[in-house]
Symmetry: C2
Subunit: 142 residues, 2 copies
């Protein structure tokens, strides 16, 4: 899980797509490659600002849109919160959100994915993408 490598791969993917490599973008890529959580645009802006003082929030938004378009990052729209982002070098997974703490846990189930595909197929559809979120609460031990 080498962060520098990951950042480099993301950069390369963009260059290949003919996207210009500005200071702002390099910094945002680095922040995204490093992030272990699921930060939103404002939080990303905050983190990038230490590397590129004065970078504007619109640039962050614009760059995020571009990165999403290139498939380099994923955008998640959880309930009642601004959009959150994560680099897409992670394996595909879904999210469990602790409604008390806001903590996000990743998980993946091949069996569920298979069932989803089956259900769609039965109705004559192909799944382009899906979204599955479990809003959960710590089991109370009684």
């Amino acid at each position: 899980m080498n962060v520098a490598e990951r950042s480099e791969r993301m950069k390369q993917a963009l260059r290949d797509a003919g996207v210009r490599m500005t200071r702002q973008r390099q910094a945002l890529l680095r922040v995204l490659a490093t992030a272990e959580d699921h930060p939103n645009a404002v939080e990303l802006h905050r983190r990038v600002e230490s590397q590129v003082p004065g970078i504007s929030l619109s640039t962050v938004y614009r760059t995020l849109a571009a990165l999403e378009e290139q498939g380099v990052i994923h955008r998640h729209q959880f309930e009642g919160t601004p959009a959150r982002f994560e680099h897409s070098e992670t394996e595909h997974h879904d999210h469990m959100i602790d409604i008390d703490t806001g903590k996000v846990v990743e998980f993946c189930s091949d069996r569920i994915e298979r069932l989803q595909a089956e259900i769609a197929a039965e109705l004559g559809y192909d799944i382009v993408h899906h979204r599955m979120e479990l809003y959960v609460r710590k089991k109370k031990r009684t």
Copy 2:
């Protein structure tokens, strides 16, 4: 699936909760009870206006919030669209959204639900609610 009955039951649930029954609310309840689709606030406002001319959009929003709080309706936040609503007398189900047409298909899988509960339980969580959306496209026959 009697619409009048459904509307009546929703009304009763509200009265029991001590919510005042205004013309506006009765009309909105009627529209919601009748709706076969998943209308958003603006569309609901449009439909209610024929019964209560001059009703304001804020009233629709406020009433929807109240109805949701009472558990009488559900709010769905699909990707890139305003929130959509449906009365909660339907059985629990999830949604498949045709990304080309916007059409919403309902479906339900006990097996998936069971797997979800298992996964959450393994990590020490109870599911409070979940959200599963399949963004699909008609299979092309080649």
